[in-house]
């Protein structure tokens, strides 16, 4: 490899942010833009053919979760699914109570929805996590009140990568007759999911996190669980989510989830090996670096680390200049100007949270990618530290 081609190497390690649509997924979608463009609600043949394809995709999503197809409702992605689950359950169960239990480390799609619900008179308990980002199921149980209607705990955290004890929490919710929602946006294709065994009543997912298209997702709603409609209008999705279906997206979601959930264990084992090489290499090569999150109970592709004495945004942009794409919990790079709420909830001091870098691996990453990051990253950290007033 000559110098210039070495510099042009591109290493995408931000799969928790989004993933490229897989060519097979795109190929499955394309006919539904042009030839098979019919409205699935139309009674004539091209409408009926598209209806059949949409229902096929619903079966694919259901199969990935151990659910029945009638329990899958397509919507515009993870954010809408989270909004719908929380607002819809609160409206449908208001007569039973007005208390929700969630955690301090949820995605903003859950947290900001809860904050909105608080303005509408709902009480919300935001459970703390330990230094690994783990929610304690006993704390969930202790937080239950007479008027608790819902527990919402994510299956795996998008920043720290920590995998939550969702099965244990689901069991507690079921014993108390309380709805259990989980944001599984980061988990699909990385962790085996069974809504029956885990006692999940509502589950959010989003196609673009597993090589499907952006702007399409689904909410699983257990049969018999009442949830108010969120988008009002036509009779689509059994009158629960109005609007002409984004049919190419739905087909893409179905194709992507089937791909992602074929051989989850093999895929996860491959990612885990690369991730551990990356983490071990970085922690070895870079002094004063530390892993964020749990050493074992973490998403197979997640390497979130802090580098005391530098700023995460500066690190991210220096890596970008070398063709490496990651993300950071730096306050300076967030719109709010606050360091990551996830890392601070884990007890990471705000200043250290601001030094964090999240690299999330996906199926396209190779050993060479890991080698390249290990060759580039330590030097960048050293250079940034040398620029810092704390260095001398």
């Amino acid at each position: 490899m000559n110098g210039s081609s070495a510099q042009k190497r591109q290493v995408y390690m931000d799969h928790a942010a989004t993933t490229p649509t897989h060519p097979d997924v795109l190929a499955a979608m394309l006919p539904y833009f042009t030839q098979e463009f019919g409205n699935p609600s139309s009674l004539y043949s091209i409408g009926r053919r598209v209806r059949k394809a949409v229902e096929g995709a619903r079966e694919q999503v259901a199969a990935a979760l151990g659910a029945a197809p009638a329990e899958i409702f397509f919507c515009a992605g993870g954010t809408e699914a989270d909004n719908w689950a929380l607002k819809g359950a609160v409206s449908a169960h208001r007569s039973r109570g007005s208390h929700i239990i969630t955690t301090a480390i949820e995605h903003h799609a859950v947290l900001h929805t809860c904050e909105y619900l608080e303005t509408q008179g709902v009480r919300v308990t935001y459970l703390p996590v330990d230094r690994y980002g783990l929610v304690d199921p006993h704390a969930v149980e202790d937080a239950i009140c007479d008027d608790t209607i819902m527990i919402s705990v994510m299956m795996a955290n998008n920043e720290a990568g920590t995998i939550e004890p969702v099965g244990a929490i689901g069991t507690i919710a079921r014993e108390h007759g309380i709805l259990f929602h989980t944001d599984a946006v980061q988990a699909i294709g990385h962790l085996p999911i069974d809504v029956e065994a885990m006692h999940i009543d509502l589950l959010s997912l989003s196609a673009h996190k597993f090589h499907g298209p952006k702007g399409i997702g689904a909410l699983y709603v257990r049969d018999g669980v009442a949830i108010e409609r969120f988008v009002h209008g036509g009779a689509q999705e059994k009158r629960r989510r109005a609007g002409t279906e984004y049919t190419p997206g739905i087909i893409g979601l179905g194709a992507a989830i089937e791909r992602a959930c074929t051989d989850i264990e093999g895929h996860a084992a491959r990612l885990r090996r690369l991730r551990d090489r990356l983490i071990d290499g970085v922690l070895r090569e870079v002094p004063h670096s530390a892993l964020n999150g749990h050493p074992e109970l973490r998403l197979p592709g997640n390497a979130s680390m802090s580098f005391a004495g530098i700023d995460g945004e500066a690190l991210l942009l220096m890596l970008d200049a070398q063709g490496i794409y990651g993300s950071t919990g730096s306050a300076c790079s967030s719109a709010s100007g606050e360091p990551s709420h996830v890392l601070t909830a884990m007890g990471v001091p705000p200043r250290l949270a601001g030094t964090s870098l999240r690299l999330t691996l996906g199926e396209v990453n190779t050993d060479e990618d890991v080698d390249y990051v290990l060759a580039v990253l330590p030097g960048i950290v050293e250079r940034l530290r040398a620029m810092s007033p704390l260095s001398a």
């Binding site: 500066a314 730096s330 620029m387 810092s388 007033p389 704390l390």
Partner: protein, 126 residues
């Protein structure tokens, strides 16, 4: 998000490092985001003849320090005192709105250094 000038001053910062024979050194930090900037000035006949900086911070903070040191180099203390965050941001061709607070540090550090220099010489701070 950043323009080419900002990225240039971030990836190839001018005047970065320690000035061993500095006449005055000052450090300021941003309570919000935790960015820190340290400025070293060498002053002869009321003129900044050399300047260096060290910054722990985001790209905007590093680029602002780099540009601010370029702008005050060779200037009299009176001229350097008038440097504002707007001058620095303008010279960089603009900074994103949420990043403007990061450009304050260099200006603050330079002014703190100038006043310290005056105090050291028994003069009233500006």
């Amino acid at each position: 998000m950043y323009n080419e000038t900002v990225m240039d001053h971030f990836t190839n910062p001018r005047n970065v490092g320690v000035l061993e024979d500095a006449d005055v050194v000052a450090e300021t930090s941003s309570p919000g985001c935790g960015d820190i900037t340290k400025i070293y000035l060498k002053i002869r006949d009321n003129r900044i003849v050399d300047v260096k900086f060290q910054t722990l911070g985001c790209a905007a903070a590093i680029a602002s320090s780099s540009m601010a040191t370029e702008l005050v180099k060779g200037k009299t203390l009176e001229e350097a005192w008038t440097l504002t965050r707007t001058d620095v941001a303008d010279a960089l061709g603009g900074l994103p709105e949420p990043k403007l607070h990061c450009s304050v540090l260099a200006e603050d550090a330079i002014r703190t250094a100038i006043n310290q220099y005056r105090i050291d010489r028994g003069l009233a701070p500006w």
